[in-house]
Subunit: 291 residues, 2 copies
């Protein structure tokens, strides 16, 4: 068994990005600049965005945090996005989800210039990714394929089970894993809420990427020996022994599956830390494309 | 066993489109207009395009065939496409592939206005399809889901095996079949050239969509009873008993699989005729969106 240490790998990636930025500055090239838009004052969203902004500082990016009131009209938010689209100093930006109910997330996402859409949620980027054209890959699937590459995990001809079909994890990673690429060429099955006999599928899988959101759902008797486990689940479970009152759990019964798996991501410290690194990577790519 | 009669169904669809066009004309709405661009004089391409243009006449569409010399420069072709993008009378157009080697198919496809891209090959349409936004679905997968709908084939929770991962068939139909839709909700596995033990997958499938291109590859002993077979393969096999010198064969050993299958498409007369009907449907949709 080998633990896929996302925390360590994300630090390596950030170091690489930092070095790249230093070299850019020496060469008098543009310093990457990420902007983040947040609407309202949801605690979790503020934490996420704060962490993204701090990471920018770590790697030498400029960052701009635009905090808007939860009562802002959709029109004013769209105007704000349009300004970011037009501002040549901003290489990429994200709009933190969820948005207040009176604002259409779809209209907002569609209004972002695909060239600055470093979250990779715009249909143009999604389509370009699926058709193997240069694009921004959403951070979570991008983090997973980066992990697979860096740990030299063999994927060609392997049975890969993806549990979940969301637009930001299950769907894109299902596509990426089956593409004719070094990290792909797997025979991918996408499972979801309507799937019957999931255990038959998990038992047959060489690689399981789980984005289900049910804590410790995947047990040791449901997987085969030497399986590769990528656990994308993040659920807060009440835990009075923890000073925060909760513990973060993944989709996998880590303690027991660990003994059987070939590779496994812990939660926390697996896929999670990779996502911010990949957002930074996308921002760097956006900046480099303008060189 | 029930034969999925694509020829009959495509005629029904054309009748419906024709009726819709007549009503549009009575209501003084715009008559749909499809343009087709063909570069060079490849026999098969001319046949396909000719058939598309004839179908336009059948349903009451206007059609324009733009035939360009194989020596045309990429720049001139792109200018031609730009004219079609700007011409308000053209609702949709297609550029027949393949193109001569000195022209980049990628650049050409990307230059088509997604709003007129009735082939659904542009990344913006692909991404919109994958993210379940209004789009143009490429004709072959669109034809397959239309068949599934019209024959009331149950797909929810079924194991669907897609053989092939091309951008125009395997990839989009894999996505569509697993979406949360009446024709979807299947547990989809995408197989391809790197897949090992394909027979294990075919034997486990409730629905097989084959876009492999190996004539009569899929035998009766490789499928389970009552399987649904959608055969997208079209291969010309030398046949001296046929006046044309060849016979068209699908991926499936039709005569024998027929006895075991619940539903099956013949080749020819299955998915093939559906594609032109769906191109017409996309053109009608493009025209309706401007109402």
């Amino acid at each position: 068994m080998k633990i896929l240490d996302g925390k360590k790998l994300s630090n390596t990636l950030k170091e690489e990005i930092k070095k790249e930025v230093s070299e850019r500055l020496i060469q008098k090239k543009k310093q990457p600049h990420l902007a983040a838009v947040i609407v309202g004052d949801d605690g979790a969203s503020l934490t996420y965005v704060g962490s993204k902004v701090r990471s920018c500082k770590q790697v030498g990016f400029l960052s701009t945090l635009i905090q808007l009131k939860s009562t802002i009209s959709e029109k004013k938010l769209l105007n704000q996005i349009n300004k970011l689209n037009k501002n040549p100093d901003i290489d990429g930006f994200i709009v933190q989800l969820p948005l207040p109910k009176h604002i259409s997330e779809e209209r907002v996402l569609l209004s972002i210039d695909p060239k600055k859409d470093v979250d990779g949620f715009h249909p143009t980027n999604f389509g370009r990714m699926a058709l193997e054209l240069p694009s921004f890959i959403p951070a979570t699937p991008f983090g997973i394929i980066e992990m697979i590459k860096r740990y030299n995990i063999k994927t060609s001809g392997k049975n890969c089970l993806v549990i979940g079909r969301s637009n930001i994890v299950g769907r894109p990673i299902s596509i990426l894993m089956s593409q004719k690429k070094s990290y792909g060429n797997a025979t991918v099955t996408t499972a979801h809420s309507k799937t019957k006999n999931l255990i038959k599928l998990t038992l047959n899988a060489d690689i399981i990427i789980s984005a289900l959101g049910i804590p410790e759902f995947l047990k040791a008797n449901m997987v085969k020996k030497n399986v590769v486990i990528i656990d994308v689940g993040i659920t807060r479970v009440i835990d009075n022994t923890n000073p925060r009152g909760y513990t973060i759990k993944g989709d996998v019964d880590f303690t027991n599956v660990l003994k059987k798996a070939g590779f496994i991501t812990p939660v926390p410290g697996g896929v999670g830390p990779m996502t911010i690194a990949m957002l930074l990577k996308n921002t760097l790519i956006a900046c480099q494309r303008k060189d």
